[in-house]
Structures are given as C-alpha cells and as structure tokens.
Amino acid sequence: MARERSWRAQKVIERLEQKVNRQVLLSLAACVHCGMCTEQCHYVLANPDDPTYAPAYKADKLRKLFKAHIDWTGRAFPWWVGARSVYTDEELEDLKDTVFGKCTNCRRCSFNCPMGVDMATFNRLARGLLVHVGIMPEGVATVAKDQWEIGNQMGVLKEDYLETVEWMEEELQDEFDDPNIKIPIDKKGAELVYTINPREAKYDPRTIAEAAAIFHFAGENWTMVSEGWDMTNFGLFNGDDELGGACARRVYDAARTIGAKRIVISECGHGYRSTRCEGPNWSKTDLPDIEMESSIITMLRYIKEGRIQVDKSKNSIPVTYHDSCNMARSCGMTEEPRELLRLVCSDFREMYPNRQQNFCCTGGGGAMSMAEYAPRRLKSAKIKAEQLRATGAKIVITSCHNCVDGLTDLIKHYQLDMEVKQLVDMVYNALVVPKPAPKVEVPVAVAPGEIPAKALAGYKVLVIDDEPDVRTYLRVIFKDKGAEVLEAPDANQGWRQIRDQKPDLVTLDLVMPHKTGEKLYWELRKDEKYKNLPIVIITGYGKTDKPTVRFHEFIAEKGIPEPNAFLEKPIDPDKVIETAIQVLGTRIPSDQIQ
C-alpha cells in the first residue's frame, strides 16, 4: 500500500520537478560521495565529530528526494543509490534545519569539489521549496514579508528613511561647515543612483553620510531615491525567485525613472550579487542602458581619476580584509577592494586563506535573521576567529553588511581585540578636503534646547564602548556639535588612545570584554597624569542592576572619586551634550594633564 503523504510534502515534490534545471540536475547527479568537500566547510571544522554537517551529507537530503522522483536510476533502484522521498511535515522540518541552519550557501565547498557540484545553488532551491509551503525560520518569514510589503527588508518606513537622509545631510553640512553639501533625493537627470542596505538607514546612517561626502567631493551628479532604494534582496536567501525579481525590479525601475546611467550599490555582498548578477535573471529584465557597479569600484575610480584625494597615513591602525562570499566566490570581486585598501590604509595585512578560498563570516545566507541557529552559527565561526586572530590586525574591513554583523558577533563571542569597518569608512577617514579651521567656543552651562550648534568645537572626545552601534551613535551626536571624536572598542584600546591622543573628555562603558570599564576608571583615577581627566560613564544598566551598584560600591571601596557624570542607556542625545558641556566647562585643560 502506498504510504500517505502530507500535502506539504506533495507540493514540495511537485515543485521540485518544476524547478530543477540543467545546472541543478547536474550538481545533484554528479556527486561521487568522495568527501573531498568535507573539511572545506566551516560547520565541519567546528563540529569534526558530527557527519551531519558535511556538505555532501547536507546535499544528500535534497539529492535523495531528487533521486526518488527525477533520477531514473533512483526510481529503478532506490535503495541501491540512496533515493528516499519525503512523506511528513516532520521530515520537511528536518530538511529546514539543514538547508537554513547548517549551510550559509557560501559556496566554498563547490570551489573545492572535483566534480563542480554547486551546493549553494541547490541549497537555495531547497529553501525555496520549503518557503513555498510555509516552512522556514520565523525570522526569514518576517524579513521576506517586510521586503514584500514595505519594500525593504528591515521594514524602514519611507518617512524614517527620508528623515535619516535629511539628518545625514545636516550632519555633513555642519561637519564641513558647507551648506552646499546635499544628499539629493529623486533628482531627475542624475548620472548615478546610489542604493543602500536598509541596515544603513536603521543602524548605521554614518555610512550614508560618508558616501555622500565622497560623492560631493568627487563632484558627482548623483541622487538617492525615495522608492527602490533598498538593493538587498531576501529572495537570494529564501530561494524565492519571485521575491528576488520584485526587489530587483524596484531598483531598476527607480534608476529608469531618474534616467540614470549607473546604479551604484553600496557595500553589501548579497545586495551586489542580487542586484547586479541574479536580479536580471529573476526579474527577466534586460538593462542595456544601465551599468551597475559596487561603490568599491566607484570610490576606486574617483581616486584613480584624481577626483578625490586621500591620505593613507590617516588610517595607520593595522587592518585586514574579509572577502564576502557573495563578492568573492559568486562575483569575483577580490582585487578591487584590496587595491582600494592599499590606497587608503598604511598597514594592510592579508588574511589566510583569502579571496575565493576565504571562510564565510558565518552570518551569510540570511543566517543573521535566524535567531534559533545563533549558537550553532557562533560555534561554526571558530575557524573565522582563528583566521582573524592570526592577522594581528585591529580592524577587519569587509564590504558586506551581513559580514559586518556576523563578524561583530563572532569578535564579541571569541573576545577578539578588533572591530569591523567598511571600505567607505576608511576612504572617508582618509579623505583630504579643505576643512574650515574649527572655531573654539568656550563651553558654558546651557539650558536644555539652547545648545549652540558648535558647542563642542575644538574638543576631542573619546568614546569607549564595545557596541559598534553605540559608538556610531555617540560619534554622530558629538560630531554634530563640532567635537573631534575618537573611538575605542575596549578598555585597552581606550587606554592607548588616552595616552596617544589626549582627549578632553572620555565617555566610558562599564561592561566590556577583556577589561571592564570600572577597572579602567580605577587605573585612570590612580594615575597622576589622568586623575582629573573628565570622564562620563555611559552604561546600559539601570540603577538597581548589578553593574551600576557594583561600580558605586567599587569606587567607594577604592576611595576614588565619583566620575564627572553618570548617564544611562538608552542614550538621550540632548542629555549627552548638556552633560559634556557642563563637564568640559569645569575641565582641566588638556595641556595641564600632560
């Protein structure tokens, strides 16, 4: 008697039969089970005793189904060649666990497979089959829904996006004291449309401002757009070609409406691959008149053509480069980022293996949206952590927002002494532009709402916090008021910056990896040179929570003075500035601290 099959399982089989094309068929049929791909996968390296992480084992989950329903030897002799169909939703859940939770579609195994089996392509297909019947991690469903309904994968509303862009425009105008710096929106006839990852609008708007400054100083005729600005594409991750096509089409339509000749894609691996390479296929669109390029190429061109000047000595901290899988293995973009890095950084150190042989950051394939697999992801990041540590670099540069998040997470997890940046940060930092001399204004205590525009001009503020988002936020707030802002991701680097850069004010987080903020505070207060250095503690815990209480007990026990101010997260920007002005109003001038 034929075994009963759930309707989902039935649908998955029917769709598999429709979706298999020649490339997928060959990848599914060609595997000889040689196992050469095994040690090439970061999941295997972190779980050497668990064969279920081996690429061929994972691939076989779909291959068995293919053999049972499509491959003729499998249909004739199923047991002999390992063919097996699916019948229940539980079996589909098991397939979900593999294709979403045990593979980031990084393609590293394919580059090291003698048969040329393209694992990532059919793993994506398997994801699409499951998504079609509603089986997927919750985060994947949410992100896809946002991208379908709101038009971007982080659900950023149009007003918020436009407000953020406007905010960044004001930032730039203040920073360079130049009202002519603009971030144009929907400017008809612009040569170039700049598209971004919504993460930039939501968490890291400085990258928008930095790119805008680069366009401005290069004299570019450019614009951003109010619709179709998100170049990311969750269709790549959830295997839904229709979503992939819809997202890509939005971007192409926006560029056509503007009449632009070029779409510049900000630094995002999957966004670049989806928009430039896969998008035309998914959306069945030919774009003969529009060029697409990564912002890496744009920035490199500006430097080579002399449209912007850079000084690499401004980036002297040792840096390394992490190749995003989508950039390197799926799009061959390996040399251009390095060329650019060498132009804007003075101490670039290669990481091994690199380029097409690099290991995934472990946040790829949409992994950052699948919270349930986070422990597995972080465990699999062991090899990446070892690679990073071996470079001795203090900054890892990557051209991908997923990699930024993946690497930030693993750096924290493996307690590495480094931070993550993108090329745009480095180019911006190295920019040589005629900046107006900062006007030093004497800070005075002010009432809320009456803070002068450049109240902190001439002051150097050091932000010590392990959270990159917090550092970015504080940097924006202080820069907005004219201060020069330095950053340190941990107490040790903070110490170094205090010694080398002599800041006028330090904001200090308490809970940080390696050395805590309270330890650093104590060390500073007992040091003759720095005992009067103005310090504002900015911590993420309420008064009744342990770290704060512990801090007060700690300073009482050590007999050291209270900090100049104590603020709690979430950060209130006005409060931060008022506090800084008040603290600096009573400061010991930095030359007396020497």
Binding site: M36, A54, N112, K284, M333, Q356
Partner: protein, 233 residues
C-alpha cells in the same frame, strides 16, 4: 599456433561489442535526459574583469581536475590526489587493455609492457583499497556512502585484480584469467550507466556550467590559487 576457444573469442569480441553498444545506448539516453532539462539563462551583462569570461571560466573549470594545487581540498591532502590519479589511470589502462588484447595484442606483448601494466593495476588496487578503507573508516564518508558506492569501488578493485592476471595474455597456458577479465569487463560496461561510475558523463557538463557562470562573473579562473591559501614565501 594456439587456437583460441570459442568462449574466449566470444568474451573478448562479441560480448565486448554488445556491452559497449549497450553502454553507448544508455549513455545517449542519459545525455538526452540531461538536455531535456532547460539550462538556466544568464541575462546579466558579463561582469568579469578583462581576461576573464564565460569561455575561459568553463575551460578552467574543465581542467580543474588536472590542477590539484588550485583546490584547497587536494592541496591540504595531496595523498588523496595521488589516490585519485593512480586509481583512474589504472582504470583507463585496463579499458585500453580490453581493446588491445583482442585487436592489437602485439602492442603489449613485450615482458616490459606486461610488467608496466601489472604495476599500474597493482598500484590502482592499492589506491582502491585505501579509498575503500576511507569509505568504511571515516565517519563523514561512511555517512554518505550508498550500497552503490561500495559496490562500484569493490567491483573496480576486483576488475583491476583480474587485469593483472590477464595482462600477460597467456591464453596458451590458461584461458581462465582472460575469461574472468572479459566477463568482468562486460559486466562493468553494462553496470556503469546505472551506477556512480557514470560520473564521468556528468563531469564535463557540471564543470562546464559552473565554470561558465563563475567565469562570466569573474570568479574563475583563479588567478593565483596558491597565494590564497598561504603567504607566499
């Protein structure tokens, strides 16, 4: 002059031709089956930098098996490449021998040629046994192995054993080794299209398509694969 028995004559001639014809028909059907599936179309403009394109990518990809230094998997475990190369060389030599014995015996009649062939087959058996051991002992490979994987490998090892015995082509002493060899060869030819051994039919296709896509996007050919893995000294 020795008169070959009708059975051996049948085994080395008619049976081989019939088995080869059968294999060819099944292969043709297999290729037709592959081509029935539409090839995914690339609409994207070529994005590779100068010096790389789909054609170069495809050629590089097809040559990949002869470029073990380009793959981390083989660079890290060179012995596995030796196993692969020697084993496949032995199989190819035995296939060649199955044509030479009946149709051009003089080409491999010298004692040196016989010893050379036997040495290749023996090395092939050794490599085959190592591969079989790995399939049984390595939990990762064991977990993916099907009955066909074991049987195909065992079949080839046994066939290479028969090849050693058949290589001297000493039918006047005994026909048994030759009969065993040719019957096994015929079985092998008939079995191949239904087994994993038919991977060499897929190889050119799968490598071609992967290489074409990666070449068009500039990821293939790898410029300096060795330098990606370790700092150059």
């Amino acid at each position: 002059m020795y008169e070959t028995s009708p059975l051996l004559h049948f085994a080395e001639d008619t049976l081989q031709i019939a088995a080869l014809a059968f294999m060819a028909i099944v292969y043709a059907l297999k290729i037709r089956w592959i081509l029935k599936f539409p090839a995914g179309k690339e609409r994207q403009k070529p994005t590779a930098p100068p010096g790389r394109d789909g054609r170069k990518g495809a050629l590089y990809s097809l040559a990949a098996i002869a470029l073990p230094w380009a793959m981390a998997s083989y660079r890290e475990r060179p012995l596995r490449y030796v196993q692969f190369a020697v084993f496949h060389l032995a199989v190819a030599a035995s296939i060649l021998m199955s044509f030479l014995i009946p149709y051009a015996p003089e080409t491999i009649a010298s004692p040196a040629a016989v010893v050379a062939l036997q040495a290749i087959f023996a090395a092939g058996i050794l490599m085959g046994l190592m591969r079989l051991w790995r399939r049984l002992a390595d939990p990762h490979v064991r977990a993916i192995s099907t009955p066909d994987d074991y049987f195909s490998l065992a079949l080839l090892i046994v066939w290479l054993g028969a090849s050693i015995a058949a290589a001297p082509n000493a039918r006047e002493v005994s026909e048994t080794p030759l009969l065993a060899y040719f019957f096994l060869t015929a079985f092998f030819l008939v079995y191949v299209p239904f087994s994993k051994i038919s991977h060499y039919i897929y190889y050119p296709f799968s490598r071609y398509y992967l290489g074409k896509t990666l070449g068009r996007r500039g990821a293939y050919p790898l410029a300096n694969p060795a330098a990606m893995l370790k700092p150059e000294s």
